[in-house]
Symmetry: C2
């Protein structure tokens, strides 16, 4: 009888997402491009119909959406395949972090920013958004290709590296002493978490997983348990300093070892149809076009975005051993990870509103630009003969 | 890398719901009882792990959950059957509103409350929560029984009547002149909305619905469109002063006329497994057990709840022509509707915190008490021979 405000916001955002996604697909682009742009359009930049500041629900649905998206991708990703490409993914991740960091730092340095600001800019340059790339690969139906495994594996490693860099940069930029011991503990925890999930978790899933999912708890459906696991491990990953989606991805991979793999996958796809669009919409909602009204600011945005694309592409390209262009462009989208890093810098008062807007704009632009190129390259290079 | 608070809250609430639901089902009770109680347990009354005041996300997910629940029930409810029982549902609704209103008013009057407070208490006595009853009927697999149609039809009519009573009571209690013209307009709008949905909407769905859902918009799935319709019409119902869930229910009934009926139903069930528990959990979160620590207050709660159960049961029982006990008890749960009315009274400063807590407690207690009785009666009386 009241309380309709949240429902209305959710309705507007959802409809905007399906319209945006539809237009993008008719233009032969991945739907995420349209959904992100739809977020920009209904947000404060253009129509101002919904604002993420007053309606955190969209952001929270977006977080859930990202988690369930990576969960579904995890379900499609066999451990053995990821293991095969482990070494290559590591090299892609490391070079894909080092090169853009240097490029970002160099740009900021020559643009006259003090070192602590330049370090934050560089940090925002490094982390790939697994979500955006994963969605495109899923839409193209190529998650099971080798290059997809390389990209996803690298995106996970990338997140650990980004966390490392961010810890150092945050400490340095805010003038604290870098506490290497505590950083080391966090890193070890994260690696132990990923290691345990991919060994012990997988073993349990393989030997008893199906029984754990179906035996117990009479009517408690395996699907409910899977949802609880997905969110729970996402929360745990978050507590360890990793992106929540990494946890969700690992749970998906673990559950892929059970007999319920196909069954859960069907269900999560039904859920994702509702919840994933909020992830892309809320990414778009973060943008404030106002910040790029001046020709100067717009030029800066284009320059920074170009550098971010080139830096990541070159790093990942050099690290890859096959389908190098696909892997290179697949690592380009920064999406929500760049936005989160920029947000931290703004929150610590290291960077101002202008650089914040610039980094948010860059994060989205890299995603919007990379998406159609990735799609085209997958169609061209991504054939089976090369994998 | 941050923002984990909402995810953690969602995780706790979801796990509490599945554990509560599981315990209830092992005790041969409907799962909703366990889920509501789980909400009380994790809420401020006991563990204080989650609070609906600081985390509106649970409440908003709960609203969505209620909408999708009624949407799924609508999909299982053929129009023709509801039409057959239309007259009986009307009588059940009217008597089921009049009797509890009189009982509630009488109690409040003799308990010494002034008339404006007594009117609000009486208003909180009248409206049945379609959600709770619907979930129980769905769990028992008897949505297609005639008595279920009577209950659901009556719950919809009931909501229109509750809106009417609430408009009058609000105006009177806050000392405004009752503007019968504007109330009449709202009522006519609501009735026109329900009428149009069940005639025009249905005709469109029957003649072109399937084509509308599949033809257009190449990859835009019919499932996305159904979600958008469900939320959109729920918002519209809300704007017209009806409960959002009534709109969602009607959309479900309309889409049940298309060829996609089964297909959409499967998908919404997958979604509901995730989202519906938040509806029941957030109902439980509203309770503050603190208010019933004194023996006096507890006695009052039990008395009021008993009157609320008896009043509704007698009214609906008298109105029904078959399976009268099932219909009578099926109308008893007040759930979220009673809570919303109590909240309005508190917001208008007509009733104080104590009566507010009393009405919230009554709303939940009626639901918790009615659920197992309804289940038992359905098993006993609800056989096919009587329908």
């Amino acid at each position: 009888m009241d309380h309709g405000a949240a429902l209305l916001t959710i309705f507007i955002a959802f409809v905007a997402a399906i319209i945006g996604g539809e237009i993008a697909m008719r233009l032969k682009m991945p739907s995420v491009v349209g959904q992100i742009i739809a977020g920009v359009v209904v947000g404060k930049s253009v129509l101002n119909w919904v604002s993420i500041d007053t309606t955190p629900i969209l952001f929270e649905l977006g977080e859930l959406g990202a988690a369930f998206l990576l969960f579904s991708v995890g379900l499609e990703t066999p451990f053995d395949k990821i293991k095969q490409v482990g070494r290559e993914a590591l090299v892609v991740a490391v070079l894909g972090v080092i090169v853009p960091f240097i490029v970002g730092f160099a740009w900021a340095h020559f643009a006259g920013f003090p070192n602590n600001q330049a370090a934050f800019v560089a940090a925002a340059f490094i982390a790939t958004s697994a979500g955006i790339t994963a969605k495109i690969l899923q839409e193209l139906g190529v998650i099971d290709q080798k290059y997809s495994q390389v990209i996803l594996g690298a995106a996970v490693i990338d997140d650990v590296l980004a966390m490392l860099v961010l810890s150092v940069v945050s400490a340095v930029s805010t003038g604290e002493t870098v506490n290497f011991a505590s950083i080391a503990i966090v890193i070890v925890q994260s690696l132990a978490f990923i290691f345990l999930m991919s060994t012990l978790g997988r073993k349990i899933a393989k030997s008893r997983g199906s029984r754990i999912l179906d035996k117990p708890l009479s009517p408690l459906s395996p699907w409910s348990l899977s949802i609880a696991l997905c969110i729970g491990v996402a929360v745990l990953a978050n507590k360890l300093g990793l992106a929540a989606i990494i946890g969700a991805f690992l749970v998906g991979m673990v559950l892929a070892e059970t007999d319920y793999k196909e069954w859960i996958h069907e269900k999560v796809i039904d859920l994702n149809e509702f919840i994933v669009p909020f992830f892309f919409i809320s990414a778009g909602l973060n943008v404030d076009i106002e910040a790029f009204r001046s020709l100067d600011a717009l030029g800066q945005l284009l320059l920074v975005s170009t550098l971010a694309v080139v830096g990541k592409f070159v790093g990942a390209f050099l690290g890859a051993s096959q389908n190098r262009r696909v892997v290179g462009i697949g690592m380009v989208p920064r999406g929500e990870v760049g936005i989160i890093i920029a947000g931290l810098g703004f929150q610590f008062k290291v960077i101002g509103k202008d650089i914040y807007s610039l980094l948010v704009g860059m994060s989205l632009l890299t995603s919007i630009v990379a998406a159609p190129i990735l799609k085209a390259l997958v169609k061209k290079d991504g054939s089976d003969e090369q994998t």
